[in-house]
């Protein structure tokens, strides 16, 4: 990675991939490349965010995303604080904006926010001067997840432009789906969705996405499948009749994969419901990149943190040399 990369503008925050240019998204992915190696070292630390204070403000339960961010922050040398909605002033009725202003008054530099309401990240970003990173807002966006998905596909298939990617499952309620749609389309991939129509949002074709009614057709078509988690709650609220039937009609199984003409790459943002949307034989099989996604998650988040803190894309390589 010795070629010079074009400079790009990320702005103050990362609230979503919608509206970001192809240069910016590619720039983030390229910046993640040198950071991958840091996590492979015995001493997993570079000092590029030394002295920075970062708050992980999680209004929704999260394991993977929160820990991934925390590792990314710590491996870059930042000081971090985790706040979850239980056991904080949130449960005492403090508004989001007041919580943010109070944190701001303690002189912080960045906030990573996870929130159940769509738009919460941009709401916060518009109201505080700190950098805001969206760690998932309602059903809107989860930009770092899509970035790590894209990085993983690029690792495996060598490119994104011109690829066919299908997202399978509960598209209506998925922020991962939206961020992937915006990001992949900007980078020139073809994107489709597949699932029961009750879980496909109205008007999604107008975002430039095609729809498959049958998972077999999606598997036949796609270079990569991003299989979304199906929440038990969707059955209780009547979107689908049962998880059993979901697995039989839409489950990504080895039998279905074997019928396809090619080896489709399998992604899953986790946590998986084995035996519902994905079978173990697929999740643990040779086409799966589910664990590399998790590994890449840390590198992508390091890149985003580094860039928002003012780091230059070309400097990431140099930053990594700073290790003692």
């Amino acid at each position: 990675m010795s070629q010079t990369r074009p400079e790009f503008e990320l702005g103050k925050d990362l609230v979503g991939l919608e509206g970001l240019s192809a240069e910016t998204i590619t720039g983030i992915l390229d910046t993640a490349e040198p950071f991958k190696e840091i996590s492979e070292r015995a001493i997993k630390k570079v000092p590029v965010l030394r002295g920075k204070t970062i708050v992980n403000l999680f209004y929704e339960p999260s394991t993977r995303t929160r820990i991934s961010f925390e590792f990314a922050e710590k491996r870059l040398g930042a000081d971090t604080v985790n706040i979850s909605s239980s056991g904080s002033s949130v449960v005492k009725g403090e508004t989001l904006v007041d919580t943010a202003r109070n944190l701001e008054a303690m002189r912080i530099d960045m906030v990573v926010i996870r929130h159940a309401s769509s738009g919460a990240a941009s709401f916060l970003a518009d109201r505080i001067p700190s950098n805001v990173i969206n760690g998932g807002d309602g059903q809107h966006e989860h930009p770092t997840q899509a970035l790590l998905d894209m990085l993983t596909i690029r690792d495996r298939l060598g490119r994104l432009e011109g690829l066919k990617i299908c997202i399978i499952g509960d598209i209506v309620h998925s922020r991962v789906a939206r961020s992937n749609i915006f990001g992949l389309r900007t980078l020139g991939a073809e994107v489709a969705v597949c699932g029961p129509r009750s879980l496909i949002p109205v008007g999604i074709e107008e975002l430039g996405v095609s729809i498959f009614n049958h998972v077999e057709d999606a598997i036949e078509w796609a270079d990569a499948l991003n299989v979304l988690r199906l929440q038990l709650e969707r059955m209780q609220t009547g979107f689908i009749p049962s998880l059993r039937e979901y697995n039989r009609v839409f489950g990504v199984t080895r039998a279905r994969l074997e019928k396809a003409a090619r080896d489709t790459v399998i992604l899953h943002p986790g946590p998986m419901n084995r035996g519902v949307e994905i079978d173990s034989a697929v999740a643990d099989g040779p086409q799966s990149v589910i664990l590399p996604q998790v590994t890449n998650g840390v590198a992508v988040r390091m890149a985003v943190l580094y860039l928002l803190a003012g780091g230059k894309p070309g400097g990431a390589e140099a930053a990594k040399q700073e290790i003692t």
Partner: protein
Amino acid sequence: MNRPLILRGGRIVDPSQDLDGVADVLVSDGRIEAVGQDIAGPDEAEVLDVSGQVVAPGLIDLHVHLREPGGEGKETIHTGSHAALAGGFTTVWAMPNTDPPIDDPAAVGYLRLAARVARGTQVMPIGAASIGQKGERMTEVGELVKAGAVAVSDDGAPVWDTGLMRRLLEYTQTFGIPVLQHAEDISLAGGVMNEGVVATALGLRGLPNAAESCIVARDIQLAELTGGHLHVCHVSARQSVEQLRLAKEKGLTVTSEVTPHHLILTDEMCRGYNTEAKVNPPLRTEADVEAVAQGLLDGVIDIIATDHAPHTYEEKEQEFDYAPFGINGLETAFGLSMRALVQTGRLTLSGLIDRMSCNPARIMGLEGGALRPGSPADIVVLDPDEKWTVDPTDFRSKSRNTPIAGWELVGRVHRTLVAGEVRFVRD
């Protein structure tokens, strides 16, 4: 009693008698005594020069939320009735979804008393259609009417139970009042903005057109079955207009209203999670805006009503999901309707006055909405050409929630007279 008053030299626009020309208006004892050229009037009469301005029957808004009792942080009868005056309204109908709801005669009496004390616009109370607006048991409609209620409604929520809606449309006929329906199928609801590509991109839950039009279709069937007066509130979906068109063709006693915001704004306004554009029914698409406007022009939709829904800054300054539905409408209604219909050349000023004053009076059998001798002297004096910028900090309303702050509108109210008394003068 006040001195007689002559409004001298204004352009009289009264579509109820096809009047559009310069004349004087003589007012005495709260009523219009004469309209004509060079009225002399009694010696003691006060003369107001209104040349260059339009004199029209006072606007009538059949759908406002004044929030009192229970929501005084948002609006009171006092602030709301003065906001109405500033918007040119001489009569408003107040929805009963207060806390507690207006579901008994004493509450109706309280509203009337508070309105009299406020000396703003005339406030006519709407009674709750069901006890506690729970949609289960009918209120004592007769007692509510006796106390001064002019209609019944569970607005804020629909009368959801089909059987209850039928009974209401039957029972209200004894008292000659309409049932005002907030048409929304609650099992299709649960969204926070219009269902469509904008909601999908924003990740916000959608309210489909069918949530409204299903109930409109159902209620039209019930109006046909019962012969009762159904009035459909705030029509927003093009499919509802199709249903209403059929109802009019059948000659049913079905009337309806559209808000100024549904005549011009679309769901694109919600981008950026703009909670000022969060309203129910939601702002929809261009095709819907076009259809409701055409419905109004064709007479399928009878009137414009604001659905004035004040909310505090703190309530709107939240995540989109948590912010309440509603737009503050009284003080921008005339200018925004001018922009939607008159400036686009689709309707004359007279046609607009018809839909904001004469028609509301006609469909509900009210006394106002005309400048004839003997009519109540409920009058608005306005400048249809004046440009002004919407500045919510100037609102008389206690709240400032509007998605059109900063918009330049044309057409502004200057004076509002209620029963011959000048109750509002713009500085």
